[in-house]
């Protein structure tokens, strides 16, 4: 299983043909308590860098961008029903959506764990 990160603080984890996408532990800590989540419907075409989902906290509303091109196959109803999952388990049960990839090689252009950790360190 490969996990990659974007500069907008999304993570994407590939397992076979299906990738799972969410926001990172750092992202949820910056947002504060998440109060609302909107996820894409199955079948929606996702474009790298364009809005795929919405996350709203007590501080701000922001977009979650598609890390790569592909098609949404499932939104996580559990985070819609209980947005606190994004805070308590951002890189586990708090995932946003699953997608298939148009071009798996696009993942190579994203950061791995070490690069992302360094990137977050550089934010402060």
């Amino acid at each position: 299983m490969t996990i990659r990160f974007t500069e907008d603080h999304e993570w994407i984890s590939l397992d076979g043909d299906v990738a799972t996408v969410g926001i990172t532990t750092f992202a949820q800590s910056q947002l504060g308590d998440v109060v609302f989540v909107e996820v894409p419907e199955a079948g929606r075409a996702l474009v790298k860098g364009k809005e795929a989902a919405v996350v709203e906290s007590v501080k701000a509303a922001s977009e979650v961008f598609a890390p790569v091109d592909g098609t949404a196959i499932e939104g996580n109803q559990a985070v819609v029903d209980d947005p606190s999952l994004v805070n308590s388990d951002p890189q586990g049960a708090g995932w946003f959506f699953k997608m298939t990839l148009a071009n798996p090689a696009e993942l190579d252009g994203l950061m791995d764990q070490a690069a992302y950790d360094a990137f977050v360190e550089g934010q402060h």
């Binding site: 308590d33 109060v35 609302f36 007590v58 501080k59 701000a60 509303a61 922001s62 947005p83 606190s84 402060h124």
Partner: protein
């Protein structure tokens, strides 16, 4: 001790502020106020009405399923309830209200007196226009002032507030594009620092939003705009001064570039108070800009009254201005109310009638009582006050952008790093000090933002007290007293509210307790 032997100084327990609790739950003369529905005393009423006579229903068998649930209350109970609620209210009449981007300035009482003149307050929008010539003249005069101050040739008076004005501006732009046959222009450029209403308006109008990143100096650069321009761009929505409280020095170049690419320039006029009498938006290349009468021209807002958001328009957009509008006719002033009667091609209506008449009266009263020189002085003083706050706080707080600001001073939360205190905690402690907190966590381009807009109507003594409180709190945070902040507010009727719970599980409707 006074001459009668009564103590004139508080005893030790009171002086220490010990909260001993009360039998009633009231705190001094501040009452614990239930909802009016909880005061229900069935059968009690303020007026004695005869029992309704028997009637024959003509509703075809339709019947009310239940009572309408109005509480039974006597007049004194109602009067006390609302009086006590009003005493809990906090507003610009209470003290400084430094909410950034909101321009919470004093509402002069002269405006209120004039708005209550019967000729303005006791008229109806459907009465014959020949009987309301004075009201129409007032709308016309206010329009004249707004056009003169902005240098723009036309103004749509009817929009009800800022975001409604944005919608009006974008609908005019959409109408102009349709008239040009350029329906492929679907993209709207919005800087990252924009008010949230800008992208919301563009999306509501059917456009897609494309964000322009901010430069390191908090401004938008003409290069960044040019990189986003193309044949599918409808317009840019730019705020000037921007939400960081900074003037956009490249605004004219940006306007020229957008125009050269066939797009329009919508200016968010929320921060117009900083430049009234100093800068004419027309000279910056603006095609449409809303003016928040309730900010810049001192009409009450934030629960005190409806907003009002007239939109000034360039020659290119003026023909599409919404109905109705005032024109000078052979028999005096009249409202053009139908497209067939209009010279241009109005895109429709924003409101049922002509707009917020009471706010028009207040705004014109403000403008006429200040005069051109007074308005210019007001914007200058607003900028001076903000810079005074910035200059006196920048050594203890942290500023994201150096140099002078316009009408609002922006700080970030770097000065709170490793203190365990967040911007939110700091704001709660400000409430204990008797200040309404500034705008927090906005603009988003700055981490943990504090956006402070004092406005020109704050006297130096109030600013000094505010600055003193902020310096005191910043010192406390840095000295490691996080507990002071985490427990705040202490002196409010309610302590820290559960904002997360309120957002995740909002209770929006009172329901009677189960019997």
């Amino acid at each position: 001790m006074n001459t009668q032997g009564r103590k004139t100084t508080p005893d030790a327990e009171t002086a220490a502020g010990t909260d001993v609790g009360t039998y009633t739950g009231n705190r001094g003369l501040v009452h614990e106020e239930p909802l009016i529905f909880e005061l229900d005393n069935p059968g009690v009423t303020g007026v004695d009405l005869e029992a309704a006579p028997a009637v024959t229903s003509r509703l075809g068998g339709l019947k009310a399923r239940a009572g309408i649930g109005l509480p039974g209350l006597s007049e004194p109970t109602v009067v006390r309830h609302y009086t006590r609620l009003s005493q809990k209210n906090f507003g610009i009449d209470s003290t400084m209200y430094p909410l950034g981007s909101c321009t919470m300035k004093h509402n002069p009482r002269l405006n209120e007196k004039l708005a209550r003149l019967a000729g303005f307050s006791d008229i109806h929008p459907m009465q014959p226009q020949s009987t309301v010539q004075g009201a129409l003249e007032l709308i016309d005069q206010l329009a004249h002032w707004l056009k003169t101050l902005t240098g723009m040739p036309a103004v749509a008076m009817s929009p009800a507030a800022g975001a409604h004005g944005e919608l009006c501006g974008l609908m005019a732009i959409r109408a102009a594009l349709q008239a040009r046959g350029e329906t492929g222009r679907t993209r709207v450029l919005v800087p990252e620092s924009a008010h949230g209403t800008n992208p919301a308006t563009a999306a509501f109008c059917g456009f897609t939003v494309d964000a322009i990143p901010a430069e390191a100096n908090g401004r938008v650069s003409v290069e960044a705009v040019k990189a986003k321009l193309g044949p599918d761009v409808a317009c840019i929505m730019l705020t000037n001064p921007n939400t960081c409280g900074l003037f956009e020095p490249q605004v004219k170049e940006i306007a020229d570039a957008v125009h050269a690419a066939g797009g329009y320039f919508y200016c968010d006029g929320a921060n117009y108070n900083a430049i009234v009498g100093r800068v004419r938006p027309a000279d910056l290349g603006v095609d449409a800009m809303h003016i928040n009468l309730h900010k810049t021209f001192s009409t009450p807002h934030g629960g005190g009254g409806p907003g009002s958001g007239p939109v000034v328009l360039s020659d290119a957009l003026a023909p599409y201005a919404p109905l109705p509008y005032v024109v000078h006719g052979a028999d005096g002033l009249r409202l053009v109310e139908h497209a067939a009667d209009a010279e241009g091609r109005p895109f429709g209506r924003m409101k049922a009638f002509h707009g917020q008449m009471g706010m028009f009266v207040r705004a014109l009263a403000y403008i006429l009582s200040h005069g051109a020189d007074g308005l210019r002085q007001a914007s200058s003083d607003a900028v001076l006050n903000a810079n005074y706050v910035k200059a006196r706080l920048q050594d203890v707080m942290s500023v994201p952008f150096d140099g002078y600001c316009m009408h609002e001073a922006l700080f970030d939360d770097r000065f709170l790093k490793d203190t365990g205190v967040t911007t939110l905690d700091f704001a709660k402690a400000m409430i204990d000090e008797g200040f309404h907190p500034m705008t927090m966590y906005f603009p988003l381009v700055v981490h943990g933002a504090f956006l402070i807009e004092p406005t020109e109507t704050e006297p130096k003594a109030t600013l000094d007290q505010f600055i003193g409180a902020m310096r005191h709190l910043a010192g406390k945070a840095k000295a490691g007293d996080a507990a002071h902040f985490l427990a705040a507010p202490r002196y409010t009727p309610r302590r820290r509210l559960d904002e997360t719970g309120a957002a995740r599980k909002p209770v929006l409707r009172w329901t009677p307790p189960a019997a």
